[in-house]
Amino acid sequence: MSEASPAKAYGLHLGVIALLFVLSFLLPEYYHGLLARIMVLAVFAMGYNMLFGYVGLLSLGHAMFFGAGLYGAGLAIIQLGWSVPAAFAAGLCCGAVLSLVIGLLALRTTGVAFMIVTMMFAQVFYLAILYFAAWTGGDQGMVVPQPARVLAFGATSLDLTDPTVRYMAALGLFSLVLLMTLAIVRSRYGRVLVAVRENEERTKMLGYDTFSNKLAAVVVSGTICAASGAAYALLFGYVGSSFASVQYSILPLLWVLLGGAATTLGPLIGTLFMYYVIDVTSGYTSAYLLIVGIALILLVLFFPKGILGTIRQRWLGWLP
């Protein structure tokens, strides 16, 4: 990875954010809503990328962190009647605590065992949602009522169900997380994470405490995913158990692989591209999982670095 001038990297990212801002006024209604959803899910993918791309830990259970944010915020607002900011904070806290506990346990294992352990914890989380159906609504899920999704600042109020407000809220969260990951990746801490990915033993020998660095990465990754889940509950108003199922652990992996692991903009591109492909093919066939399966196999076979990873390798070495 060659050294980039900070101006170039930050300029590119601010440019992408500005482009998304302008698109809000240009896109037709259907794509406007779709892009808002994609930005929220891209935050999920960025959280996943934090752990998979930079630390090299392949988790098959990130749906539980997304679900923790989703249900943390959703239950707080529906069952406890909290306000929107308090519910969002509750979602974040649930994600942070859950990822701390899971990290402490799962990081004792490595490689294949790590994947299976994370998958099993996520399965327990998913089954627990079904088991406590009295509060969570089971596999039916819950709808967050429209009046509860209004942000009030004294006299003025923002209705999160309004398309423009929703788009701007999604963009705000997306921009915040994007710039945050960029800052983390360029910091000393980010370098240590990459060192752990490349050679954990050597990093340990150089005097770094790899366990606590990895644990911090799991917590950061889990909290970002929870932020995405909480935002999903508040912006789109649906809290369902399918978002905690295995499939939602596989999807961020697919998005990150497609866009390019260990690239800051890869998760957005992967999510955007995959959503677009599914949107187009759903006109011809309902079997969109078939597309997901074929995409996964083709990616690992021929394109292991993903779109941005390949571009970085061939042409733009400075890409963060």
Binding site: T109, M115, Q123, V124, Y131, A287, V292
Partner: protein, 293 residues
């Protein structure tokens, strides 16, 4: 019924589950042991076996035993061929990298599942058992076919054990498991061994499915529970150990049968999954395995 007969019934049901589970998990365990590949699509090979059994029995007709025997031979062969093609086309090109193969087998899982949904449909379809003899016990009657599943599975397990320990093929497989590079240096075509083991693993799952399909039903989502249970079995039994796999399968099958008769199945699944995750975290070699190399 009193508690005693109730428990006996639960135990019998648990033994049937164990028998099928042992075969399925053995396939997964062989593939992991020899190739170091975690085959997430294993449950889908199980499902394919059941779906093909339905297709074959309904195509042949006549006496149910005829169709069933044909299915027992043909379905595993077809599933093995599919697995072999998948191994040649995908896994070998990935050089059996553990993480890449997991992603690729997840892809296979989705592809097989969707194709089954497209061509077989969302219905659950029954297969007629080859014979319907009822054994009458003092408290309840029990299906003779279910008991024959246990016997068939035991025979197959013994046969696999004999092949692994007494034949040249088994020796080659064990050598590849122990040290594939040295085996290659001795002139063994390791690539072909991998292909054969992957096909064999899928075939074991398919046989298990053909055996169970007359008492459950063929459905395109039926591969998910066996996959999770097989994972649990090979983790408890120690990855890549045949004896551990069988012991763990009996343990899990029995406790699954007994626990789900007295408690809510979802709660039973939650506790089992959590316990197994903890085993993997704190005792990664399994309860019966020895420390890994």
């Amino acid at each position: 019924m009193h508690f005693g007969p109730h428990l006996l019934l639960a135990t019998l049901e648990g033994l049937v589950t164990s028998a099928v589970l042992a075969l399925t998990a053995l396939g997964l365990s062989l593939v992991f042991g020899v190739m170091r590949v975690v085959n997430v699509a294993h449950g889908e090979f199980f499902m394919l076996g059941a779906v093909l059994a339905w297709a074959i029995t309904s195509a042949i007709g006549g006496h149910p035993a005829l169709g069933f025997l044909a299915a027992l031979v043909i379905a595993p062969l077809i599933v093995g061929a599919i697995a072999l093609v998948a191994e040649r086309l995908v896994l070998r090109r990935l050089d059996y990298n553990p993480e890449a193969t997991i992603v690729a087998t997840i892809g296979m899982l989705y592809i097989i599942q969707q194709l089954a949904l497209t061509f077989y449909g969302p219905e659950a379809r029954p297969v007629e058992p080859p014979f319907s003899y009822r054994i009458v016990l003092p408290w309840f009657g029990y299906s003779g076919y279910k008991l024959s599943i246990i016997a068939a599975s035991a025979l197959l397990l013994i046969a696999t054990w004999l092949v692994l320990t007494r034949t040249r093929i088994g020796l080659i497989m064990r050598a590849t498991q122990y040290d594939s590079e040295t085996t290659q240096a001795f002139g063994i075509p390791v690539g072909r061994v991998y292909g054969g083991v992957f096909a064999l693993g899928a075939m074991l799952a398919a046989i298990a499915a053909v055996l169970i399909v007359p008492i459950s039903q063929a459905h395109y989502l039926m591969g998910q529970d066996p996959l999770l249970l097989s994972f649990i079995v090979i983790i408890i039994g120690g990855l890549g150990s045949l004896r551990g796999t069988v012991v763990a399968a009996v343990l899990i099958g029995l406790s699954d049968g007994i626990v789900s008769m007295f408690f809510s199945p979802t709660l039973a699944k939650i506790i089992a999954t959590l316990l197994v995750a903890m085993v993997l975290v704190f005792r990664p070699q399994g309860l019966f395995g020895t420390a890994s190399r």
